[in-house]
Symmetry: C2
Subunit: 331 residues, 2 copies
């Protein structure tokens, strides 16, 4: 197994420890619940925005904790939902008078864990609401979902809600923002290789040397179809057409365009994809107001990428431009 | 070949085009010389800091162009030095009254190209000096070098010189800063897999399923030895001991600690490495003042990582903390 691991059973707490050692002023690690939270949250008059899901999608979710982003997050094992008690304790640790918003990507395991945790928290009079993210246009239902999956579009929901929370918006106002982002964001991805979960030690699916999985899920779930690998621009065309036709986006739209690496693809290749995706936006009459090229929602070391479009209005543009700080950075 | 490419011959200009499309206000692309430069440079009273080397190490070098970093950079093909005319034109495009500083990583091809280009520029009375970076402790000489190689420590030289140039320091002052950083920075890396240069289409070296290359170069050059893969912490120990004993760093030192991914290793694994590297610093009595976990100098999609220590003083701490902006970012 070509990975940097010690005991695979400790992979998640070990990388979480690294994140907190690298951000000692900002973050606090609660190992018992595999939770990372902002040291300076909760505060009574600010909504806390939280999340929790399986590990293996870093920087989502625990590396997206910080000012203007998530206030806290808990992680399950790699590709496994967090346990109910971790979700409950994360709500409790971030509970504020203004309330808690839980952003849940649409996977059955995550939904069940958070629903139960929210019931437990409400029984203690904690003010908490949740919102389900489902931006992946690839498949209607999938291996782990009823309905569409939540993938890289999650980043934009976090960014907008985190900015709104920092500005002191109410729980209902932030819930409306989450809904607006989710209604206007669409994603599709493609895998060139499988990843290797540390505890499994082997690939989770097999692709031929000349094959790709179009519409892959971030746990290696099947997508729309398996194809021969195409030139980069043709792959962008497949992803772009599927995404753009879904809402559909229209000429004149102002958009954020994201090319997200799935973990094992170098940034040079992501910029090859970006160049053509940007051109496709221009040809379609969309103005690319903000762009995002890098890793936002990954599948361990999977080689692959996803393309996300978010239709903007002045409110969302302001939230995306607002300051924010997380563990992952170049400076 | 499991890569996002169109025609491999166009891989470099295509990703460069993507970088400039994503940063239209900041950057300008000169395709003829595979050069990217800041739109707002040169200015007469500021030293221009430039670089140019083979492609395949992104974000080094063209994705490190921006305010407080490089003013311009040119790229050769993947793992090939840039041609003399590209180096010469980059110097000329960034020439200013205050002068040009060329930061050259220590590879024979790069040195020869830049030396000739500098002679040509000097013949036109352009004020230009160069500095050679050689932070890799792995081997004394190597496949492409006489003396040590320049690797991820390059980032710190760029960051400090870029900050000093932005503050209006003179060419000689910035040269002294480059020398101070290079004298105090040391790196060693390890590869778990080979990368695949797009134009070659196959791996450049072969490692067994249970092997790693300790002290690998960023073009897949041999390092110190080939070993069975060890647990992550033991790998960190090997890198840390080699780096820390080199200067040597001493108890009481204030340091910047970098864990750099070589392209195919997910950020979760880099933080596993960081956690133990941070602990080793603490045990050795070094205070980690700044930390860097991510991709700074890569080898296409190679799975692997390098560890860098930089000994700080108050001047270098201030330069590292100064504002800067480049293409690669999460927001």
């Amino acid at each position: 197994m070509k990975k940097f691991v010690n005991d695979p059973a400790n992979f998640v707490p070990e990388f979480m420890k690294g994140v907190v050692l690298a951000n000692p002023d900002l973050l606090e690690f609660v190992p018992e619940f595999q939770m990372i939270k902002r040291k300076d949250r909760p505060v009574a008059d600010k909504v806390s925005v939280i999340q929790g899901s399986g590990s293996g999608h870093e920087p989502a979710h625990v590396m997206a904790v910080g000012p203007g982003m998530l206030d806290g997050a808990c992680q399950g094992a790699v590709f496994a939902a967090p346990p109910v008690d971790a979700c409950y304790e994360t709500i409790k640790a971030l509970a504020s008078d203004a309330g808690v918003l839980v952003l849940v990507n649409n996977y059955q395991g995550d939904r069940m864990a958070w629903e139960t945790a929210i019931e437990l928290a409400e029984a203690e009079d904690i003010k908490v609401k949740s919102f389900i993210i489902n931006d992946d246009v690839a498949v209607k239902d999938s291996l782990y979902t009823v309905g569409r999956r939540g993938v890289a579009g999650n980043f934009f929901v976090i960014k907008a809600c985190g900015a709104a929370a920092a500005q002191g918006k109410s729980l209902d106002e932030i819930l409306a923002i989450a809904e607006k982002v989710n209604n206007n964001v669409r994603t599709m991805g493609v895998a060139l290789t499988s990843c290797i979960p540390p505890a499994k030690g082997t690939t989770i699916f097999d692709l031929g040397d000349d094959e790709m999985e179009v519409g892959v899920g971030i746990h290696g779930e099947p997508g729309r179809r398996r194809e021969k690998i195409h030139p980069a621009n043709q792959i962008v065309d497949e992803l772009f057409d599927a995404v753009a036709q879904d809402i559909p986006y229209k000429s004149g739209d102002r958009v954020a365009l994201m090319v997200n690496g799935l973990g094992g693809t170098p940034i040079s290749e992501l910029y090859v994809l970006y160049a053509h995706a940007h051109e496709r936006c221009e040809q379609a009459g969309y103005t690319v107001v903000r762009n995002y090229v890098g890793e936002y929602c990954t599948s361990l070391e999977m080689a692959g990428a996803s393309l996300t479009l978010l239709k903007l209005d002045s409110e969302l543009e302001a939230y995306l431009a607002a300051p924010a700080e997380v563990a992952v950075r170049i400076f």
